[in-house]
Symmetry: C2
Subunit: 352 residues, 2 copies
Amino acid sequence: MVYLMCKKLSICMIGFGNAGRAFCKMLLGQQAKIKNAYDYEVIVNTISTRSKGTLYDPEGVDIGRALREIEDFGRFSEDNPQLIQISSQEAIKNSKAQVLIELSTLSIKDGQPAISHIEAAIENAMHVITANKGPIAWDYKRLKGLADEKGLSLLYETVVLDGAPVFNMVRDNLPGCEVLAFKGIVNSTTNFIMEEMESGSDFDTALKEAQIRGFAESDPSLDIDGWDAVGKTAALINVIMDGSVTPMDIERTGISHITAQDLKDAKAKGGKIKLLCEGYREGNSIKGKVYPGFVSNNDIFSNVDSTTSMLSITTDLMGEICIVERNPEIEQTAYGVFSDMLTLVKRLVKNK
Amino acid sequence: MVYLMCKKLSICMIGFGNAGRAFCKMLLGQQAKIKNAYDYEVIVNTISTRSKGTLYDPEGVDIGRALREIEDFGRFSEDNPQLIQISSQEAIKNSKAQVLIELSTLSIKDGQPAISHIEAAIENAMHVITANKGPIAWDYKRLKGLADEKGLSLLYETVVLDGAPVFNMVRDNLPGCEVLAFKGIVNSTTNFIMEEMESGSDFDTALKEAQIRGFAESDPSLDIDGWDAVGKTAALINVIMDGSVTPMDIERTGISHITAQDLKDAKAKGGKIKLLCEGYREGNSIKGKVYPGFVSNNDIFSNVDSTTSMLSITTDLMGEICIVERNPEIEQTAYGVFSDMLTLVKRLVKNK
């Protein structure tokens, strides 16, 4: 009998909602390829949730079973031998995993509990991947500092435009460039609602449709009042413009006051209304704002429809470039986490 | 007196047209920053041209003077003490530089003389940066193999969408993804001409305007007959789809048969005609085509206007993402070369 030894990468997941489950499905499909390419076996040894229970097995949770249980019962089964009773904070410490994947429910108003999950992970010498914008919007510089001190990675590509490269692109592929400003359409729900209203639907019906299709936040005010876009704007300012802001520093106007008549007026003027976000320099400070703005039909932003998102980045040396995530599904959120995981594996391979 | 020693990176430039001169201006402006960030002093020790003369100085050509001479006389002055008489092939060998920057006039019909310049550089243990699409469209796999054998870098970000990250983004920031297909608007001249014709201008006036503004190829058929787009399509297939094609394998239809009436008809149908390029899989083979196609006004491609370019990439795991280079000038071509140079400096710093 021949044993082929390969390295293990163990993951502790906090949160097992749509994105977490889609990540696990992607991981199942790609595990063999990763082993082949990098000689790493990736296992999930902990899945901790707020309301569905917590699974733990140092040899690896049975992901297939976990996915089936959620599908069948909406929570992990009492019969599951990997089920344990433990808080998320304890689960992180208990996991002794190498990586925390933070996918807990967002509180954009203070970035918690995600921030304390990340602190706990770093204390326990774990690398961190977060799909949660809260920590990057509220506390990026400090958390990055904590990770750097211990030689750990803090990765967060999913925070804006899911797995479409935004943060990684600016860091890796625009060397020598300074980001002077950015402008984007980064919230699908508001984009979708205003489009539906333009086509004659009313606000509530459009919102319900976005919720059924799964891209609206469970608390609609997070989308409608601009909080989601504000969180992303703050995260972008903190990372790609080297700023130090929180969501409270971003000027915020939502879309709840926008009427069908406003959209008709915009159409008559040859355009649309879109919820835009911007980051820009003003003197020595960096400002951010989120607002419903007029976009001409001739502008490339005008065809950023439905769940499509776009971010335009203006730099000193490379002028203006845009990145578009076109018609994403939940798999594209999962890929953001997955790509951060591969980035981490590649770093580990290099440093070994 | 204190001497601060820092490492030198010496460059041999072949070609000193608009892009080469813009690169040199950018380098002059950024030299101090590079020294500061990476402890490397970048010097150009050779500028070899076909018709303007050749400059050489092992301690570094006086770039400021070279730029002024071209501006004043259209060629290097006979009084310039750095002027030498030498062919481009000899200049590469003679330079003993660490990097070749290949910016010679393109022959898209065979990729020469750029390919033999690159071969000469690799033989002389030089890293290669090419802004010339010929070598990547005609001979990528072989040249990459030659460079790899000697542990040298072959960089070519500028070939598609100037300095907007395309090749680097796919390589670095879409880990685990396979590119299934791509579609793009990658030739500014044809895009500009059809737009001008749509607004009532005739073909020849529009072409002249593109030539005056400096983005048309000197031989108009390279743009009009689709050769430029074909070269970029072949380069994309070879690199991001791991194919092995030459420009001759790409199905090619130019825009010379497009009439004002065709554009009017497209407008009446709610769209425009754009010169599109595509790469896609068909069974086990990878195909490419360049053709003027109808684009609906609701499609994000429809607002890719004037000199703006866009490339959409469809992947297995990340769905569809697009990268847009908006309203570039010659500085954005120069930045492509500059960013490759910084990529190389970063690699050298890591490996030292």
